[in-house]
């Protein structure tokens, strides 16, 4: 560990220096900081460090083992790439929030107990919301507020679960748990909220598209993958998760297929990819956990790349609505190429996603879940369609929207280029990623049948897309909201509230009015000798206070003498 500072905390503490440094120095510093963290981590030994006793509980702030290391590495890499992507940005708050957020995510991954985890968990929530607010629009502010409430709520559930757990077992250690009591359920739900389980997922497609150009790149990497990590750590082999994951892998695609805002399309397909990982956690075999880690690793890279490409488009064109884009390959040829690489990396042979996702699919198949496997196959083909082909086609090709702009800024090109290179290198040389995985499992992704089958999947998906477009069956992108589960709290709850108010308020008002009239009479009597009318009118609340005193005294005496 670097200078004895735990991973994660290095970035969080390092953030404090950011506002003190001038322009270029600051950018260099912000890039070097996660690099230094990565370098320190590469030389780290496994084990538990800095343990101490807090009240009566063993706190383990840093636990380094195979599983936490993979996530630690990729989080550092994602932080570096996101920082490079944001070089052009001089917003101090956003810079600080981004690094602190990355640090919190890294810290959470290395947390060895539930209290430390909770602290980083809430730190992630509170730092990341600034990335959304940094867009500085009214809708971003409100989406951020909804996001914050849900994220902090997840932390509160986690804390409640941890306290219950501590009460029952006398320990706050964060290890494998079995569902069965309130404590573990609370913890699972807390994880599930961050992992965007169905019905808890709305914060994701709600908030990510509202964040700033650079903020979304940060956001896409940490929160949800951290949730996947804690699930893999806490609930491997929990069968329920297989079904939850399968549902997650499938349903967001329907939204992604018709959504107009391309960053929202990516957010929905991010949700779908999380489903794959959750299924892997649910299967829980050594192969499956390897699949989860590898998939998270690859997914962070290619999803960042796609969000970077869309961010570049948003930065240059000012919108990422499919209905307004098209033909950008002329103005932004490099971004187009990077975006195509990102799309290919989802599952094409020779790219990162292929060697990662196969692990999970094989694990589900090996453990004998045919229906789940079919759903994952469906999701696998579908996600290539919506977050690969659709994104690339509508943004860069399709009908020329007539938008002309400059190519993305140099730093964005560098960030996208680096990410693209990583995607390819990992995909071509599979042993490298596999050597990082927590379990020793021999797996060979490049068999003839596997490659051919995968190509069939992709090409026939593309064929479907081509036919649908050609014969105008593909629904045209329009500006609209597609109802999702958030209608419950964004629409029905306020309506219900208003309805209740409308029911109750007449009675309540007349009751208050009666009370007020009575008070007025009483006050007038009490203060008849205490001043002119004006003061009487002003001070009537004093009378109501006195009334409360009398009421309370009477109440207490009544209870006591009865």
């Amino acid at each position: 560990m670097l200078w004895g500072i735990p991973p994660g905390l290095l970035l969080i503490l390092g953030v404090l220096l950011v506002p003190l440094l001038p322009g270029a120095w600051r950018k260099a510093y912000m890039t070097i900081l996660p690099l230094a963290g990565l370098w320190a981590l590469a030389g780290a030994e496994t084990g538990v460090f800095y343990t101490f006793t807090f009240f009566t509980y063993e706190i383990a702030p840093v636990r380094i083992d195979g599983l936490s290391l993979v996530f630690g590495y990729i989080f550092h890499i994602a932080a570096i790439l996101s920082v490079v992507f944001a070089w052009h940005n001089n917003d101090t708050v956003e810079q600080m929030a981004g690094l602190a957020y990355a640090g919190s995510g890294i810290g959470a991954v290395f947390a060895g107990d539930l209290i430390t985890l909770f602290i980083y968990w809430e730190a992630m929530a509170t730092t990341s919301v600034f990335l959304i607010w940094a867009r500085r629009s009214d809708s971003a502010f409100r989406a951020g507020m909804r996001y914050l409430i849900i994220q902090v709520g997840s932390g509160v559930l986690l804390l409640s679960g941890a306290i219950l757990m501590a009460h029952q077992t006398g320990s706050v250690a964060f290890d494998k748990m079995t569902l069965g009591n309130l404590a573990t359920w609370l913890i699972l739900i807390a994880f599930g909220i961050k992992c965007a389980f169905p019905f808890f997922h709305n914060w994701l497609p709600d908030a990510y598209p509202e964040a700033s150009v650079t903020g979304t790149v940060f956001l896409s990497a940490f929160t949800t993958k951290c949730a996947v990590y804690v699930l893999a750590r806490g609930f491997p082999g929990t069968e329920l998760l297989i079904y939850v994951g399968a549902a997650m892998a499938a349903f967001p695609l329907f939204y992604a297929a018709i959504e107009n805002d391309l960053r929202r399309v990516l957010a929905y397909s991010l949700n779908n990819q999380l489903g794959f990982m959750v299924v892997g956690v649910g299967v829980g075999s050594a192969l499956a956990i390897n699949g989860v880690a590898a998939h998270a690793f690859a997914h962070i890279l290619y999803k960042s790349l796609l969000f970077m490409a869309m961010g570049a488009v948003l930065y240059r064109v000012g919108t990422v609505k499919a209905s307004e884009l098209g033909g950008l390959h002329k103005s932004m040829p490099l971004t187009t190429i990077f975006c195509i690489i990102g799309a290919a990396s989802i599952s094409t042979p020779l790219f990162a996603g292929f060697i990662a996702k196969s692990l999970t699919l094989s694990a589900a198949a090996k453990d004998g879940y045919p229906v789940i496997w079919l759903i994952l196959m469906f999701a696998s083909a579908g996600v290539f369609l919506v977050s690969g082909v659709k994104i690339v086609y509508f943004a860069f090709f399709a009908n020329d929207g007539g938008k002309r702009c400059k190519e993305a800024p140099l730093n964005m090109q560098i960030a996208m280029g680096l990410t693209a290179i990583l995607c390819v290198v990992i995909g071509v040389y599979s042993p490298w990623l596999y050597s990082l995985l927590p379990n020793d499992v021999a797996y060979e992704p490049y068999t003839l049948s596997h490659v051919i089958n995968q190509l069939q999947t992709l090409i026939f998906s593309a064929l479907a897309f081509a036919l649908l477009i050609r014969f105008k069956f593909y629904p045209p992108a329009v500006n609209s909201i597609y109802l999702d589960f958030d209608i419950t709290y964004r629409k029905w709850l306020p309506v219900l509230y208003k309805w209740i108010v409308s029911l109750v308020s007449p009675g309540w008002k007349s009751m208050l009015q009666d009370l007020r009239n009575g008070l007025h009479r009483m006050v007038a009597y009490m203060f008849r000798h205490h001043g002119p009318e004006g003061i009487l009118a002003r001070t009537w609340p004093t009378g109501s206070m006195a009334l409360w005193v009398a009421l309370l005294l009477g109440g207490f005496l009544l209870i006591y003498y009865s």
Binding site: V156, M545, L553, F556, Y561
Partner: protein
């Protein structure tokens, strides 16, 4: 020799220095006298605390008249803890006075301010040290009367009305307390609190006089504490008082009133009488829970940040009463701990607002928009205090809530735990509203060039902010004393 008289000195110093301020007149001289007096009192309190922690309860007979006939000063862990809070906050806030008074248009009356300030300090500490029930009432009146003056010094004209309301309500409360003391005297024939406690069982737990005394005492103290729904005097008083007064009173006055409640309910009447023979716990718990929620929700809708904090104080008092209502060592520990921690956080936040007011002449949330750019240190202090108010881990606020939750768990009351956690979420809302305005909105046009607050205002605020974080990590002092105080309170019954 002098050490033996420390218990008397701690209140005599400010009492003598108060008229001295008026005699000296000059605002610099008065300031120096007040500063030295508060610091001297604080030093005495620290010495006394060390002494009490070492040798246990100290009893000091005023003028050499032995108790129960003479006036006794009696110091146990709870007394010195309250003494520490009051004199500690008093001495951190005092240096702040010099600058903050300038803009509140009371500099020409500064010596009056210092005099009232010292008297108030003297009264509050007197309540905390005395072992005599009637004497306690006298000190309470000293502190109350001087605090009416302090509030009325506010630059806003509404300060007068607020002070007047506070006067009426405070007098009702004090009257209730003196009625209770009178009834107790009637039933037991003594005014010494330890003596009353000894003789009460003889009078009998079903004695109607004693029950009436108890009810008057709970309501009277409750009014001074501002237990919901007896809180309505508080928001106006804190909002329109000069900022330094808000900081001082918010951090000390209600705390001393909570002490009175604790002392009488647990030590004088005893747990057996207060909670076993009378159903006191349930009404208190209900009021506490209501206090945790309703004023918090009100706080979310206020536009004046001082008012937000005032309503939040009412909510925080709910936590203290909640711990008290558990009637267990753990619950009392949490309550007493929160007395201390809340003094730290509210003191810090009100001092920050004082600095804000000093520069922009308002504490309105809209006027504070974008302020973080111009006053980064001030707003950073607000964030620090705010985090503690919410109860974020590593802050003092978290420690209180943690102990409160432990106490609830010990009783097996899950739903209370849920309520505590949910009500903390409301605190997130009202704190973040301010932070959002200060950090993310653009400043009003006329407030673009605002300078950072002067160091004399920032330093006291930051001392308290650091204290919030220090006592959020190093808990042995605060928790240690609070635990001992709680044990002695429960043991006394």
């Amino acid at each position: 020799m002098l050490l033996a008289h420390l218990p008397a000195l701690v209140i005599v110093i400010p009492l003598i220095c108060a008229p001295l301020c008026v005699l000296l007149r000059g605002k610099d001289w008065a300031f120096i006298v007040a500063l030295l007096a508060t610091w001297a009192s604080f030093a005495c309190s620290v010495l006394l605390t060390i002494q009490v922690m070492k040798v246990g309860t100290i009893s000091y007979a005023m003028g050499g008249w032995a108790p129960p006939y003479g006036i006794e000063i009696r110091l146990d862990a709870l007394n010195v803890f309250i003494l520490l809070i009051v004199s500690g906050i008093g001495s951190v806030v005092a240096p702040y006075a010099r600058n903050s008074l300038l803009l509140e248009h009371i500099e020409e009356r500064a010596y009056m301010f210092y005099c009232a300030y010292l008297l108030c300090l003297c009264g509050l500490m007197g309540v905390a040290v005395t072992g005599d029930a009637f004497n306690l009432f006298v000190f309470l009146e000293i502190s109350s009367l001087s605090s009416y003056v302090l509030i009325a010094l506010g630059s806003d004209r509404r300060a007068l009305t607020a002070a007047y309301q506070y006067l009426v309500m405070g007098t009702i409360g004090a009257t209730f307390i003196v009625i209770a003391v009178g009834l107790l005297y009637q039933a037991t024939g003594t005014l010494n609190m330890a003596d009353i406690a000894n003789r009460l069982p003889e009078a009998g737990y079903t004695n109607r006089t004693v029950i009436a005394a108890f009810a008057f005492m709970v309501i009277g103290a409750g009014l001074k504490i501002a237990i919901f729904p007896l809180h309505q005097w508080l928001p106006n008083a804190y909002t329109y008082a000069p900022n330094i007064v808000s900081a001082f009173l918010a951090a000390t006055a209600t705390k001393v009133s909570v002490y009175i409640l604790l002392r009488f309910v647990f030590s004088v009447f005893g747990v057996e009488f207060s909670f076993v023979s009378l159903p006191t716990a349930i009404p208190l718990l209900v009021l506490a829970v209501l206090a945790m929620f309703l004023p918090s929700i009100v706080a979310c809708f206020q536009t004046n940040v001082k008012r937000v904090l005032a309503y939040s104080s009412v909510a925080q008092i709910g936590y203290m009463v909640l711990g008290l209502g558990f009637v267990s060592v753990a619950g009392l520990t949490a309550s007493i701990l929160h007395l201390f921690n809340h003094a730290l956080m509210k003191g810090a936040l009100f001092l920050v607002l004082g600095a804000v007011f000093y520069r922009i002449g308002s504490c309105n949330i809209d006027r504070m928009a974008g302020l973080a750019k111009q006053m980064p240190w001030t707003m950073a202090a607000f964030v620090g205090g705010g985090l503690s108010l919410i109860g974020v881990p590593l802050t003092a606020g978290f420690i209180s809530k943690w102990y409160l939750i432990l106490a609830a768990l010990e009783k097996g009351w899950w739903y209370i735990v849920v309520l505590i956690v949910v009500s903390s979420l409301i605190a997130v809302v009202y704190v973040f509203r301010v932070i959002e305005a200060a950090y993310f909105r653009d400043a009003p046009d006329d407030l673009v060039n605002v300078a950072e607050a002067p160091i004399s205002l920032l330093a006291p605020a930051w001392i308290l902010v650091f204290a919030n974080f220090y006592f959020g990590v190093e808990t042995s002092i605060s928790v240690g004393i609070a635990e001992r105080a709680a044990q002695s309170l429960m043991g006394a019954g």
